[in-house]
Symmetry: C2
Subunit: 437 residues, 2 copies
Amino acid sequence: MTQGARIVALECQDIRFPTSLQHDGSDAMNPDPDYSAAYAVLRTDLPGPQGHGLCFTIGRGNEVVVAAIEALRPHVVGRSVDELVRDLGGFSADLVGDSQLRWLGPEKGVIHMAIGTVVNAAWDLAAKLAGKPLWRLLSDMTPDQIVDLLDFRYLEDALTRDEALDILRAGRNGREQRIEALQQTGYPAYTTTPGWIGYSDQKLVRLSREAVADGFTQIKLKVGADRADDARRMALARDAVGPGIRIAVDANQRWSVPEAVEAIKALAPWDPYWVEEPTSPDEVLGLAEIRRAAAPVRIAVGEHVANRVVFKQLLQAGAVDFLQIDACRVAGVNENIAILLLAAKFGIPVCPHAGGVGLCELVQHLAMFDYVAVSASTEDRVIEYVDHLHEHFEDPARIVRGHYLAPTEPGFSSTLKPGSLRAHSFPYGSVWQAIRA
Amino acid sequence: MTQGARIVALECQDIRFPTSLQHDGSDAMNPDPDYSAAYAVLRTDLPGPQGHGLCFTIGRGNEVVVAAIEALRPHVVGRSVDELVRDLGGFSADLVGDSQLRWLGPEKGVIHMAIGTVVNAAWDLAAKLAGKPLWRLLSDMTPDQIVDLLDFRYLEDALTRDEALDILRAGRNGREQRIEALQQTGYPAYTTTPGWIGYSDQKLVRLSREAVADGFTQIKLKVGADRADDARRMALARDAVGPGIRIAVDANQRWSVPEAVEAIKALAPWDPYWVEEPTSPDEVLGLAEIRRAAAPVRIAVGEHVANRVVFKQLLQAGAVDFLQIDACRVAGVNENIAILLLAAKFGIPVCPHAGGVGLCELVQHLAMFDYVAVSASTEDRVIEYVDHLHEHFEDPARIVRGHYLAPTEPGFSSTLKPGSLRAHSFPYGSVWQAIRA
């Protein structure tokens, strides 16, 4: 059916949502984000589904990611659809390996995020053509097919191809039961909705109580701007939810290494479940030191970690208790699978970063694949959830009793509705025109 | 004279040189670079000098850096020139601290390189207005003025503000003699001109001999594509220059950690002076392991190191023997001064990366400031030199008997000639039109 079909265009759009007006998404480092997406469509000459991908940003600079996606066009347009979906490892390697574009990273920042967007769009296309949600397409691949997707360069001292195969082969045991469990109860979630730093104390307390009533067993608060505020808000939240609910805190990189140790000890009386991004995400050594000094409080990091090489080192250095993958920071599905396998090798649970726009929709597929084929467990594992902007997606993330329901629609759940695209196109969509008026 | 003057525009151009036609600049990771510059001009309403900055890239994607520079325009246009040049620390902090643009890094890749371009353009303007070459402007600042330029966030566990002040105060001793030495004999250089991987054996031998005849005491070869080629070329070069000349080798990130150890041991018989970028520049732990396993061969790294946080860790982990700053990778002069101070704290010599287009012109100023005010030594220190594309600059780097002569013209030596800008504007300049025809 797809024989002879080609990718005929790579279309890009700058999509922004004016979230800063409500302080939604505010934290100590990012006081006024406008959640945005550099949005890419791999258009084929087939009448049916196209490949949709997005890179989440927080406003200004979204156009720079669009420019970087456009720089990838020569690698994409004209390709055979059949060959593309048959060799998504080769496709990813072509993009990452462009010897001139590589200079802009290497393998980090804007160019890497743009590659991730296009690779993810190709996976959306592949899953739609296969008639499966992405998590299921990945879960149905053989261990050999999975490792063929991966770039082991720079990983061999921590994870060889054979070790990856062993992990995936072990993951075949109980696979069917785990698929069934996902289809019945979904994957556990936690919510950051109550804890944005710009929210009032009353709103924090009200939303914390609502989260528990909605079935969540873990919430997250933003901290790091002011020590006294952090303590007061943590106490309020603990009081609101009681001792049985986990409260994670997120410092969004605000502290130096010694500051972090002190700040974490100050929050310890309220039993934080984890402390997220206490310092720079580039701090392999510093995070390891913070973790040792702040024990038994646990450390989570990953949403801003640039690539698999840094994730590898965080694991090697014993710097993390929870690894937080992000669907849009690294070079897409392929690199995230490598990171899931690294985490499994080191026995560290993966608790994906989400929120923003589209991050929940995307990353749920990776966590569910992790459960079915890699970690084989949901113990100590949760996907972040924030109740923003899901209404703009064709196949939105669905939460029931604190769990992500397993997606059933074919694809990567990354398709924005045409009306949402039109209204939020920056700077001339109707939403932005209305704000200026 | 500048009272009331404003920055009235931030102009950007995409400038490319078709260097891939001659294999100039070819290495194992970058076989066909077209040396390029995302070029920025801070235009004032003064009749006199303007601020010129550039970000070196190797071709495709140069337009992405241009887009990122343009994203910085709101931070720049309308500023008072007086206030800008009086508080270049605050200016840099404003750019690095943009809470939305920060998401695109943080502090790495395209957005960080764009910030470096604009910060460097501001320094060019400041130096021109002061009537001094940049190295001299910096060398004439007091220790307190210098530390006010720096962002110590994430550095405090390795370098405090007080420690930086101590280093700079110690650097006042013998300052005048070092300035005089620079003005008389310049700063030692080494040359990579002979060693590009795409050059024939004959060309390698001929250029190696010429380098020695020209007064260089160190050359550099590109390795890492093929083990047998590396050994043959190393043997040819050693034979051509004799035992008294240092031969550094550069693997341009081609190896994994275990491969690097093996490859370095295989080259050891020809006495490599250092091995550069044996693996990923993100590999703090891996580089430390390579250095231990490959001793006494020395390790050099830095041209692709994303920011001061990673440099700090390379020093903390004992991963490097030589630190190679780059003028265009981090956030400009300010962050590079922080890196020079970190290196001084750890007693590691800085040997700047150069070549490309404009890198020699820019980085010589930083190395000379290092000598006058920070390290106070040129022992074991050399600046890379490649004899490409200097003719396009108003104030080109000048090499005599293997030394960079101290620049005397006001500014950062970053101004391209108007005719060169016109001819190499991509894709419609005359040089590119001729190639297409």
